[in-house]
Symmetry: C2
Subunit: 334 residues, 2 copies
């Protein structure tokens, strides 16, 4: 375990409550458009909640380095808006019916408007980031977005196919961990931190993002629809093999492998039941294997910043909060 | 008519041949991606041709100001790539079957991949533009893209409805004229021109872009499928009222207005024939009205830069070429 003491949930919440509220207001302001449908879609997504973990990371990174400028609020909203843009396009691609327990935007507004609304959200995040007049900030954001889009394309090509762990980790790095990494790096970049410190914080974000997505993928298999806000086992229904499934595929009997392959190819549970797959995963300890991997990445995140010095007492609080986040990520049920 | 002498087609071609060839190579280089499907889509679009009028404008604007730096080639490819990105998303939205006489990308690769390929092309243009390390260049490009996306959303909201001339001009400004304007402005920005000169060249681009789109819309109504590379009267089939149609709607009899309304609402010619609509437009001189408007904007483009001084003989050739382009735009048949 990490040597740095971890904060409690209440301490973390108290530390960033005002900043996160400011990020919400800023997000609303950025989402304003004279084109009514854009504002409608953006407000719908904003009201839909979400954990706001990306702005949280950016705020904590900045605070850990003693930075208090307004840029942290603006850029906190930018990373959430960028994340939102990817969700809008991903829901079109996955033909998702729900998101966070509500109808997905493509279901409400149709595909055409959502293609454009996603485009608009991308442009608006870049537009806002451009106000920083900081090329490094733009390099981080645009490079990130391109890698995320490539990741989504790679995922489409692999749908319905068996993939190995290496391919899985490449996909979840692009899909999730890279934005976590860049959120931390942006906190550092705004603070004028050294390359080395930015790299350390980025490493924290990368490890945390990998842990986050592995847990998301486990919850997708084990969670109840009412808790996770989308149909159970959506990934399997979309032909996506995630870590626990890959683990079972490598260890299962011929019949078990065939059962998993059938679900991935069919993209439904008509020939093989969801309960059968769960049974296979439990029998091989695959879910526990995935959770162990998530916990290892969470611990790696903590270790990444264990030797960062705190400039002042607020910075020390932020560092302790960053020690708390990985546990929050691995212990959640949605 | 403009006082500045106009070049001949051959003189223009000789002037920019090498630069345009360099832009083609640069576009290919920018479109390289380790994700195979992106490269496939980008190469398909590149091979599909297109008039390359946006890079042409940027190159001529730079040349008219005596600028010969490599940035003009890079940014020439960027404006073409940005244009290409909008086409990929527009074809999804319009459910287009063909583009420039070939199957549209969404038909070949499916919607999902094309949503992401469009995203990638946007990001790649910004990525390349970012290499310029020029905030003004980025302001122009990102502001432009947002306005184009908003324009497309406004157009969707108006599909099947009657619009007035003011709404029509707002739509074609966002859809086409703004990118023409920014292409010219970028040529100026790279050359380090004054705000005033940049504004004059931008005005040329705006006027030329309006002329270009009005002609496109007329050709859509009058052109043969084999010439324009898409089904005749696609706009009416998509519920889009363009200038000639708006003109006829304002002057037609009750029965004529009803015929046009029916086609726009039906989005096909099952109840009212294409020939009937053509007859109405011809009877009211609506096609000639639209072409007169295009020619007026073309002339306004020429006038916008009539007092620009030429720094050297190459610059003078470029200015004469810019006097030639508006005639090329209004006299073309595809």
């Amino acid at each position: 375990m990490s040597l740095l003491p971890s904060a409690t949930a209440k301490q973390v919440f108290d530390l960033v409550r005002d900043d996160l509220a400011a990020v919400e207001r800023e997000f609303s302001r950025q989402a304003e458009s004279e084109v009514v449908v854009i504002q409608d879609i953006a407000e719908y997504l904003l009201a839909g909640g979400g954990k706001r973990i990306r702005p949280l990371l950016l705020l904590l990174a900045a605070k850990a380095l003693g930075f208090q400028g307004e840029s942290r609020i603006r850029m906190g909203a930018v990373v959430e808006m960028l994340h939102t843009a990817t969700l809008v396009h991903d829901d079109i691609i996955d033909e998702a019916k729900t998101r966070r327990g509500k109808a997905s935007t493509n279901t409400v507004w149709g595909e055409s408007k959502c293609v454009l609304a996603g485009d608009w959200l991308y442009m608006q995040s870049f537009q806002t980031a451009l106000e920083e007049r900081n090329f490094h900030v733009l390099d981080l954001l645009i490079g990130l977005t391109q890698q995320m889009v490539e990741g989504e394309l790679l995922q489409i090509q692999k749908l319905g196919h068996l993939i190995n762990e290496e391919e899985y980790f490449d996909l979840i790095f692009r899909k999730t961990a890279m934005l976590f990494k860049v959120s931390m790096q942006l906190g550092a970049a705004l603070s004028g931190a050294s390359d080395e410190v930015e790299q350390q914080l980025g490493e924290y974000g990368r490890n945390l993002g990998l842990a986050f997505q592995i847990v998301d993928d486990v919850l997708d298999i084990t969670g109840e629809e009412s808790t996770i806000g989308k149909p159970a086992a959506s990934d399997l229904r979309e032909g996506k093999a995630t870590l626990a499934v890959i683990h079972a595929l490598e260890r299962g009997t011929g019949a078990e492998r065939e059962a998993i392959r059938t679900v991935l190819a069919d993209r439904n549970f008509s020939r093989v039941k969801h309960a059968t797959i769960l049974e296979i995963l439990k029998h091989h300890g695959s879910l526990e294997y995935a959770m162990d991997a998530a916990r290892a990445y969470a611990e790696a995140a903590r270790q990444s910043i264990v030797d960062l010095p705190a400039a002042n007492s607020e910075a020390a609080k932020a560092l302790r909060a960053l020690q708390w986040v990985p546990g929050y990520v691995t212990d959640r049920d949605r």
